[in-house]
Structure formats: C-alpha cells, structure tokens
C-alpha cells in the first residue's frame, strides 16, 4: 500500500496537536503486508488521546501482528480541524503507522466503548471512502467490523457494520482471520463474493452478521423478531469467553505514545469479569465470570513493563481491583521491587468503598497523593439495595475518615441519579452523605474538598435494568437542581453533573433497534460528530432526527419495557439467562440485594454454566472489607484495620470502570 505521508505532512502545520497523526510510538509494529496476509485497520472512533490507551485494541493489535497471515495497523478519529483539512485536500482516513489509506485494508474494525461515538463510526467509514451502508459495499471494499461492550446491542449500527464480534477477542480474532485468509486465497466466484464471505463469518462462534438476519415488526410497529435467513446461521449469537487469562499475557509491548494521552501509564489487567452484581453496571454483567491473572504473571508484567516503557506509574486494572486475591502482596511486591527505586506509583483505578482499601491506597500512593475517589452510586441504603451496591453509610464514612486522616484533602464521590424507584429522599441523600464527609474531613484539616459527581442513569442492555424507562430530561434536570440547591450552603462541597440532554441522547442509542440507525445517520449527516464532547454535543440534532423517523423520546427512551416484549438485542447473548435478569429486576424493585457468587453458592445467571467455564480465583475467601452484604465475618478476610471498620462490611464495583476485556473493552472511563 502507498503511504499518504507526503499529502498528510503539509496539513499538520495547521492543525492542533499534529503529533496525533504521526505514529512513532514505542511498541508500534511494522506490519508486514503481503498477498497472503489479511490486513486489519483497528480504529478507535474517538481522538488519539482517548483511544490510544485502549487495552482491548492494543491486545488485538499484538495478537494479529504475531500471526504470519495477519498485519494490523491503527487509526483514530481525526479532530474536526484535521478532518476538514483532510477532506479539503482529498486525504482519506489513514493508519498512523504506515499512513496507509483505510480503504486499502481487508478489514476496518471499530472498538465500540460508548454509544455517543456511533456518529464518529459513520464519519470514519465515510472518510475512508467506503460506502456508509453495508448493503452498498462490493467485493472491493473492506469488511467493516465492530466489537466492544456496546456490541451487545448491535442493532443501531446493523445497517453500517458488516459483522460484530461479541465478548473476549483474543481467540476469535484468529478464527475470523482464518476465514478472511481463505477468502483471499480463493477466486471471488468460487467463494461467493462478499455475501459468501459474510455467510462464512456468521458461522464463527461469537460473530453476528446483521445481513444474515431478517427483522420483522408487528402491526403496531413493535419489533417482532430478528431471525436468521440461513439454516447454518445461529438463532442466537453467544459471546466468546477466554477461560484462562494467564494464557494471554497481553499487551506484551504496551504502546508508549509520543504525546500525553489519558491514562498515560503502564496498565496491567489483574482480572477480567466481575460478580459484584451491581445492577446498573453493564461491564460487570457482560464480562462474567471472574478470571484472575496469576500473581506471578502480574509481577512479571509489571516489572518488565516498567523497565521497557520507562513509565513511573502502573495501574492494576479490572472492574474492582481491590477484590483481586492477594492484592496486598501484589502491591507491596511492586513497591518494594528495587528496580523501581521507590519512584513508581501504583494506582487501583476502581477503589472499593471501605477503610481497608484506603489503607492499601495510602501505601501505594505514598509517592503521589492527589485525591481519592469512591463510588457509592446511591444516596440512601434503600437505593443502594435496589442497585445492589451494598455499601453502608458506615463503610463510606470509615473510608473517608481513613482518607482524610492519612493526609488526603480531596475526596470525590460518584453517584447516579434517575435510578429505578428513586425518590427525592434518595436523591437528597447524596447531599446528606457528602455533607457528612465534609464534616469528617474538617476534623483533620482546616479546608477540605468533597466533590459529588452525579451522572444520569442510562439503562443498559444485558442488565437487570434493561426494562427500566429512563428518567426524562426534565426529571433529571429537576433532580440536579434539587442537589445543587441543597449543596449550596455546604462549604467544601461541590456538585458536578453530567448534562441530562446527553444522557437522553445516549438513551436513544443504548436500547435502540435497527430503525435507530437512520437516526444516527441523520445526526451524522447534519454534522453531529464527537457527540461525546460537550462542546460538540447538540441534542437538537438527535431530537430532529428522531422526529424525522417518526420516533419519540417517550417511546424509545422513557418507556418501561414489558416482561414479554421482544428486545432488539435478544438474539445476541452475554450468557445471562433472560429469566435470571428478570428475577434480578424484580429483586431490585423489592429492594433485595444479591451477594457476590465468587464466595457464595451459584444462582445460575448462565455465564458460567452456559459456556462450561467457571471463576478462576486464587482465593475462595472474600478479601477483607469486601463482603458486600454477604454477612460474612470480616475477620476471615485477612488483615483488617479494625479501627476503621466499626460496623458493617461493604464494598462494590464502581459504575464506570477501567477497561478489562479484549474486544469487549471500555476505554478507561472518560466519565
């Protein structure tokens, strides 16, 4: 493939952050293209700074480039100034390594970490010079693929993406490559052309090819079903799950960018999956079961990674890192490693809400101590039982007390509003909790800052809350005002909130069906890219596009779904039985919590039994401070700083989580 660099270089002098487009990262691979090699362009549909650290993309990048029959390069969404320059100069989307044109690759594969990037996906396909509609592509066009957490409701992008890959990508990416390689080798007529290739891909477990399915609607216009057209195509596409994380010690060569990016540090994944069972948390539901990385492999990846990259910070990532078996030994081992010369800081991006975790944090952040973040998510105990985030007030206060007493002066608390059954008492409970945290801080410091960061809840597919009708913009705005007014007299307390309008737009896409694609397309055609960025977000684009399709926010976003209603994502599966999810939804409404199944008997959600896998954990005992409503005696959980744990056990995973799985990977929460 030809390099577009001579055409790109003159554009760079005029754009912001030109180094986004030059490549040159440590760890960048020299992809070897050739006639028998399948070429992949792995695309993160947001800016370079947001997309580069994505671990899922980096894992697949390495696995593909290790294969003799595959070559992978990367691309990111050019910022609006660069896109304008590229379109004016006739420069298409390109890879950052070889500056090769996107349309020259066999596959353009997108990582879908958030719904509001979908308009960028369309824009990038178009910028690549590839028809935006899958139906308009010919044998000469690349196959457009997508994976990541959002692929668990593929329908809104079904018109634009040729095939989706569900779940962990480590194994399936090779199987997909083999299908593509066979297609490359055989002459087009024999292989049935593009349709033949897509049919072959639809038979790879974990791969969903929308064009192989018919969508039907009932007389009222409700979805009646999504059914396969061919006898060989599965009725229901099940996600892929790797059983042994230890067999996949990736990334081995984490990319070190030339410019500063989000999460600019070494990342080592401690475990994948989470069974805390927070009902709002899609990541926790779709990545089950828990699979821990062996502790000695973690140590090796940390020490080799620090030596190779020169980073002075390592994040031990997972959905709830304090739950890793032997987390203390792991952390201490890193800090005491002589090669780190005492200058390496360790971060646990998902801190559990308990004093024990703070003790660990105090130890590991002794190098750099900025602020601590906890995610109680709900303002009252009742609310937290509904969402199954079983942290008692005492847990939070003990954690905050520990933080302030050990030198921190800033504490950040994450909350959701618009949760099922929420009352104004629950909402205002957020301020009550935060106010008490300020009071605790004042015991230790003259001036403290407590920030309550409030997000509007968007029900996510494949969770117990998938049936819940989202709060309206007006209702969320009213709650924000309640919080703001209640917090105003409290010195030291700051309330920050997510724009309820953006929450509504996310809701349009989150549970949309195939007809939502036309809405996304219209928003994109009217200039709505970078909708994740508040300076570019425009709700009017979304509501206008909805209206043009005869759709409403009331029906697509605010409406509760019924028990028997066909859901647009019923034909793809994260392993969770629908009746388990429905029962969990009823339990939520009954304010009934459910313990973590790592340490309690199985209640058959389906994630293990359906795939013949099970939890891989080194310790069958819950970690100290982490019993989360199981009623287990904390003293069995290891060393506990009793002073901080006066009453109840607690802990849970945060709502927004750092990246864990491969294809199924969220960017590490830019939330």
């Amino acid at each position: 493939m030809e390099s577009l660099w001579p055409q790109i270089e003159p554009l760079l002098a005029q754009v912001t952050k030109p180094a986004r487009y030059i490549g040159g990262e440590l760890g960048a691979q020299q992809a070897q293209h050739g006639p028998d090699v399948v070429s992949w362009l792995l695309v993160y549909p947001d800016t370079y700074e947001v997309g580069l650290p994505n671990q899922g993309l980096q894992i697949l990048y390495e696995i593909l480039n290790e294969r003799p029959d595959a070559a992978a390069e990367r691309s990111y969404a050019p910022w609006v100034d660069m896109e304008a320059s590229m379109r004016a100069a006739g420069v298409p989307l390109f890879s950052v390594e070889g500056h090769h044109p996107a349309s020259g690759f066999d596959v353009i594969a997108f990582n879908l970490s958030a719904e509001l990037v979908y308009t960028n996906v369309l824009n990038l396909i178009d910028l690549a010079g590839v028809p935006v509609h899958a139906a308009d592509r010919t044998d000469d066009h690349p196959v457009v693929m997508a994976g990541g957490h959002c692929a668990f409701n593929p329908e809104p992008l079904a018109d634009f993406v040729d095939c989706f890959v569900l779940g962990d990508g480590e194994e399936v990416v090779g199987e997909v490559n083999e299908v593509l390689a066979a297609f490359r080798r055989s002459p087009a007529p024999a292989s049935g052309g593009r349709a033949g290739l897509l049919t072959a891909l639809s038979q790879v477990p974990g791969v969903y090819v929308p064009s192989c399915y018919d969508v039907s609607y009932d007389a009222e216009g409700r979805l009646a079903g999504v059914t396969p057209r061919h006898p060989d195509t599965p009725e229901r596409v099940e996600k892929r799950t790797i059983t042994d994380l230890g067999a996949w010690p990736y990334p081995r060569q984490q990319l070190v960018p030339l410019i500063e990016v989000v999460h600019d540090r070494l990342n080592v994944e401690l475990f994948r999956g989470c069974t805390r069972g927070c009902r709002f948390c899609q990541a926790g539901m779709i990545t089950r079961p828990v699979r821990e990385r062996p502790a000695d492999q973690v140590r090796t990846m940390v020490s080799a990674g620090l030596q190779r990259t020169g980073y002075d910070e390592v994040a031990l990532t997972s959905l709830s890192s304090a739950d890793y078996s032997g987390i203390e030994d792991t952390v201490t081992g890193i800090i005491d490693d002589p090669s780190c010369s005492g200058q390496v800081s360790v971060s646990l991006p998902s801190l559990r809400v308990d004093a024990f975790t703070v003790g660990t944090a105090a130890q590991i952040q002794r190098v750099r101590r900025t602020g601590l973040t906890f995610a109680p998510e709900g303002g009252t105990w009742r609310m937290r039982q509904v969402i199954n985030k079983l942290i008692r007030e005492e847990d939070l206060y003990a954690a905050v007390d520990a933080a302030f007493s050990q030198g921190w002066k800033r504490v950040k608390l994450y909350f959701l509003i618009g949760l099922p059954t929420e009352t104004d008492e629950d909402t205002l409970g957020i301020v009550a909790l935060a106010k008490q945290c300020v009071a605790i801080g004042k015991r230790y410091h003259g001036s403290v800052t407590v920030t309550a960061s409030v997000g509007g809840f968007v029900p996510k597919v494949q969770t117990p809350f998938q049936w819940f009708g989202q709060n309206t913009i007006e209702e969320l705005t009213r709650k924000v005002h309640l919080l703001r007014d209640a917090a105003r007299p409290v010195r030291g307390l700051t309330i920050r909130w997510h724009d309820p309008k953006a929450t509504a737009a996310e809701g349009i896409v989150s549970r949309g069906d195939r007809r939502t694609g036309a809405v996304i397309e219209q928003v994109w055609r009217n200039g709505g890219t970078f909708q994740e960025w508040s300076e570019h977000f425009d709700l009017d684009l979304w509501t206008d596009a909805l209206a043009a399709q005869g759709m409403t926010l009331e029906d697509t976003v605010y409406r509760h779904r019924g028990e028997t209603e066909v859901l647009p994502w019923d034909h793809v599966s994260a392993g969770l039985h629908r009746d388990f999810l429905w029962q969990d939804w009823r339990d939520a409404l009954a304010e009934h919590g459910l313990p973590d199944c790592r340490w309690t008997p199985c209640y058959d959600c389906g994630a293990c039994t359906g795939y013949g896998v099970e939890h891989v954990v080194a310790s069958a005992v819950p970690p100290a401070g982490g019993s989360q409503g199981t009623g287990q005696d904390l003293s069995t959980g290891g060393q506990v700083p009793v002073r901080f744990l006066s009453t109840a056990p607690g802990g849970a995973a945060p709502a927004t989580v750092p990246g864990g799985s491969a294809v199924a990977l969220a960017t590490e929460g830019r939330n």
Binding site: L12, A19, Q343
Partner: protein, 274 residues
Amino acid sequence: MRIRFRFSKQGRIRFTSQRDVARMWERALRRADLPMAYTEGFNPRPQLSFGLALPTGAESLAEYVDVALDPERATDQGIDPATLPDLLDGLLPDGLHVEEAVPVERSKDSLQQMVTSCSWTMRIAGVDRDGLAAMVSALLAADTVPITRERKGREELDDLRPSVLALAVAEAGPDGVADPSGRTVGLVAELSTRPRGVRPVELLRGLIAVSGGSADRPMDGPAASGRPGSIPVIDRACRTEQWIERDGLRQEPLLGRVVPAGADRASHALERAS
C-alpha cells in the same frame, strides 16, 4: 552532579511539543536506570532543565537538557558521561538524536536564562528569491518593526526589530539541501531571546509587515504556497544553534566553543545536519 546533553530533533517528531520531549527524556532516563535527582514534596519529579522552548513543528540541531543526578548514587554507579549519548540514543524515539554529554557545574542560572540568542535556518514558501530578499532588506533597514503577539491570551504590540541580530536569504533550507521542488527560498537568521524569544512565525509576520503586506495571521504552514497572490509561509524551520553571549563572544552552551559574535555559523550547522 549535573549532566548537560546536546541533542537534535528532526523529522516527524518535530510535531511534538517541548513538553512531550521532556516526557520522552524522563522515560528514556528511567529506562537507562540513571540515578536521577528528584524534586521534594508530594509530587516528586526528575530534575530536568531544558534550554529555550522549541516551537511545535520546528526542527532543531541544538537542543539542550540538564539532568541532575543524585550525587551519592551517581558516584556509586561510576557514571561515565562519554557512554551516555549512545545509551540514550537507543532509548529515545526516532528523530531525537543525542550528540554529546558533559558534566557541568551547578549554576544558579538555568539554561533558559543563560541563552541570549538562537540561529535559525528556514524554508519559506509562497515567495520567490527576489521577493524575499526585498523583504529582508526592508526589515533590516527599518527602525522599528511592530508586530502583534499573543501573550497570556492577550494581544500585545511588540517591536521585533531589536531582536533580529542577523538575517539573510540563503541557498539552503533547514536540512542542508536546497528544496528540490524549487518551491521555497532559504532564510537564515539570528534572533535574540531578550527581552522575549522570537518564533520563526513571528519573524515572518514582521517580514510581511515591513513590506506592506497584511499579516495579522500568516499561516504557520505551506497551505497557501504556490497560489498567485498568496502570502509567504514557513515550509520548514530549524534551530541550528543556541548561543550564550558574554563579553562580545558567543559560546555554544555545551562545550563552550567560542565564536566571535556576528560570525556566520550557518555552514557549520548545515554540515552537522548532513
């Protein structure tokens, strides 16, 4: 103990910022396992001090960084500065090339404070050789060259003229070869850092202003080049030297090589680049 490095920044990496380069050095020094001295406090950082910031997009043959080492550990490890350029060259990204390293005295002035002027070579597009020569003559003949510059978010009017110590049309561009397309004209300049550093784009703005052009915002790039009636733009710019002037003599900051003020060093710089 303090080690001063001289390095170049050429090619694609010119699109990274000064801050990016500082971070590249920090990572490379850690990978080299050098016993760096750290700042005190909650947020200890390695003690690195760079010379005058290089604008993003410009190349350089003359960048400097002072690295403070922990004296005890440095002695224990027996650091030999002569081995450091090769070691660090292998650890820095492509495009950063370490040329020399020498121990320097701890001085109360930072490199940034000591540097008094910088030599530049540039390739200018959108103007022919005669046109550029006329602009250069006009600037050198002018008593004052007012330009507006942005400082802390505000527009300020500055006189550029005292900062232009030398200026001439040249045969060669920044990489030591004439632009094969013949599209650009070479320009060499020595620009004072006092009272404030002058960026190549600001020099160009001054050149356009003295020749009667409207130059509120000449573009820092070649987009307008080649079109009739277009304004001159910088195609490439390269800093070839940073100077410390004392008692009428210019010193190169690393080895203290002395050159009489006013002597043309461009040819030396171009040899280094080849």
